[in-house]
Amino acid sequence: MEKFTTLEGIAAPLAAANVDTDTIIRIERCARTPKNEMGPWAFEPLRYLPDGAENPDFVLNQPRYRGASILVCGENFGCGSSREMAVWALAGMGVRCVIAPSFGEIFFNNCFQNGLLAVRLAGEAVARLQAFVEATPRLTVDLERQQVHAGSEPIAFEIEPLRKRALIEGLDPIGVTLLREAGIAAWQARDRSRRPWVYAASDSPR
């Protein structure tokens, strides 16, 4: 996984609340598009007009926000479907960090699985960042120091230490868990005697 330390880049405001993962990537694209080719389809219903032309009103189509790597979003960003393709589509269009007051929880997890930093900030701080990038479309996100820099003024953010470490070191979560295999096996052995029906019921239809 690509490591994440400090990101300085174009930042765009996407203030709408409850932007769902169906809006971020349509299901038909999920089913038919290779992982690394999803970028052009991110935000398809917002980004393109019915005739396929770019929608000039959509913020990410505006010249100053093209190539944004940071999105400053509204409440519950990425709600709805569990499709990880939403993160792949964002990554495919160059996004490495999303900032919002809250996120769809499955989307939030999916971000970290793909080296994308999802930052939760108070609604008031997000509103301030949105106002800032409306005027000056650049932000710096310093993961090590847990700060977003909007001009001279740093805004601190919280992040779970495990997630921070995984991003900074580019850790593979499966590799990390496989190191615990002995503990998993011991737990399952105990559980098999405690709850035998959980294991016995499988693959034994009447």
Binding site: G104, E105, N109, Q113, P173, Y199, A200, A201
Partner: protein
């Protein structure tokens, strides 16, 4: 002494290790795969030189990309058949039980889990689908995961997960005729909002929940994710045990007795504390219909369309202040993991019986599983639907998710028993109104959004 909640008891029984900062490594008891990502995830496990750790705890079916056309044998497109074939090949390689297209047991993954007794009280259940919360109706912790976490679970049978806070939603009072489980949960989404449950595991409680049968409880828990809650649950009780007993994959004999003894310890203790409580009175509840592009955009069927979301109104082709009932519709969809079970089809057919739907409407019934389809046909429900003018189709996700080419046309208006009215969910520029099966049936008859209470 403080008690523990249903959620806490199950979560703690599955904790393998505390990873710090409220994150645990938890054991996964049941992992369900479907055609949209299952084959790819299993292939990735192989390509990384890993093995599926517990194939006997993993089950699979095809639902997302299968065609629901009568007489179908798979998908309607080559790419869909490639996904179905890949799931077949990879589950066979890994030794995972597949309920294949055309076989008994095939159906929407969140319908067949409970129907076959694969998911049970006290279990942890994950699936690469956000509506895995449906399973919580049996008193289990079920939640959706993404593609990377699917591979993690296949390889380790565990998941790193942050322990959520707890929210109890009490539904008190009793429902009037024409008001169903779907109306109860849509009303809650409207009340606390699509982000109201973010960060919480929700427990639904109260006399109106206890009074629901198991299928109606599955409908309630299904919409937990539309509150932003990954997990929604209902304490197991006699209704749960009666539902589960004799299911093909449920424990039997001495194991049933042993399981039952544990299940009975799971309900929240009387003194258990929840981080948040909300209450909803069902006495005054009316049938609910959505008007916008989020499930939180919901009103009483006889209400007027509110303002405040101009983009949603423009997308839906609606005007503020107008009554929602009476809006002309083009399509009706009865199906999805929310409302495609036998009791849903009975509720819709009770409204339709002896009546004909409006000529300009195209209406589909897509049963949730082969089991539902056969049971409905044994009762003759399909004849009621066909006589009313509906199409009687084959089990799958169909028009809920639009992953199989089954779409609502641009700017066409559909009353749907599914769970999401998002922009483009049922097809580019399609306009979705979420409602109960009874309201959907009434709307098909009227050719417009209709109050089912007029048809009782």
């Amino acid at each position: 002494m403080s008690g523990r909640t249903l959620f806490e008891k199950i979560w703690e029984a599955h904790r393998i290790a505390e990873l710090g900062e409220g994150v645990d490594l938890i054991h996964v008891d049941r992992h369900l795969q479907h055609d949209l990502g299952g084959g790819k995830a299993l292939a990735e496990v192989r390509s990384r030189g890993l093995r599926v750790r517990n194939p006997e705890l993993t089950y699979a079916t095809s639902d997302h990309v299968v065609s629901s056309a009568p007489g179908r044998s798979g998908g309607a497109y080559d790419w869909a058949n490639a996904l179905i074939d890949s799931l077949r090949l990879e589950t066979r390689r890994a030794g995972i039980r597949l309920f294949d297209v055309g076989e008994d047991g095939q159906g929407i993954v969140h319908v067949i889990g409970p129907e076959l007794g694969i998911t049970q009280p006290g279990l942890t259940v994950v699936c690469g689908d956000s509506h895995t919360c449906t399973n919580g109706a049996l008193g289990e912790v079920g939640f959706g995961i993404g593609a990377s976490e699917i591979v993690h679970v296949l390889a380790t049978q565990t998941l790193e997960a942050r322990r959520p806070k707890t929210l109890r939603a009490r539904f008190e009072g009793s429902r009037a005729p024409g008001v169903h489980a779907k109306d109860m949960i849509l009303a809650l989404v409207g009340r606390i909002g699509a982000a109201g449950g973010v960060g919480y595991a929700v427990e639904y409680a109260g006399e109106a929940i206890r009074a629901l049968d198991m299928e109606a409880r599955l409908t309630v828990c299904n919409l937990s994710i539309e509150l932003g809650a990954r997990i929604g649950m209902i304490a197991p009780d006699e209704t749960t045990y009666a539902f589960l007993r004799e299911r093909p994959f449920a424990p039997r004999g001495a194991l049933w007795d042993q399981a039952l003894a544990w299940w009975k310890t799971l309900p929240s203790d009387p003194q258990a504390k929840f981080d948040r409580e909300v209450e909803l009175d069902c006495d005054a509840l009316a049938p609910q219909v959505t008007w916008g592009t989020s499930p939180e955009d919901v009103i009483d069927v006889d209400g007027r369309i509110p303002g405040g979301k101009p983009d949603a109104l423009a997308y839906m082709g609606l005007a503020e202040g107008r009554p929602l009932a009476g809006t002309k519709i083009d399509r009706v969809f009865i199906g999805s993991c929310t409302n495609s079970r036998l009791s849903d089809l009975r509720a819709a057919s009770a409204v339709l019986k002896g009546r004909k739907m409006a000529r300009h409407v195209r209406a589909w019934v897509v049963p949730g599983s082969m089991g539902v389809k056969r049971a409905a046909e044994a009762e003759g429900l399909h004849e009621t639907f066909l006589a009313a003018g509906f199409e009687w189709r084959e089990p799958g996700c169909s028009l809920c998710v639009g992953a199989n080419g089954e779409l609502v046309e641009p700017e066409a208006r559909c009353v749907s028993t599914s769970n999401r009215n998002f922009v483009g969910r049922q097809g580019p520029r399609a306009r979705t109104h979420l409602a109960s099966p009874a309201t959907a049936a009434a709307s098909a008859l009227a050719g417009e959004i209709a109050d089912v209470r007029r048809f009782l």
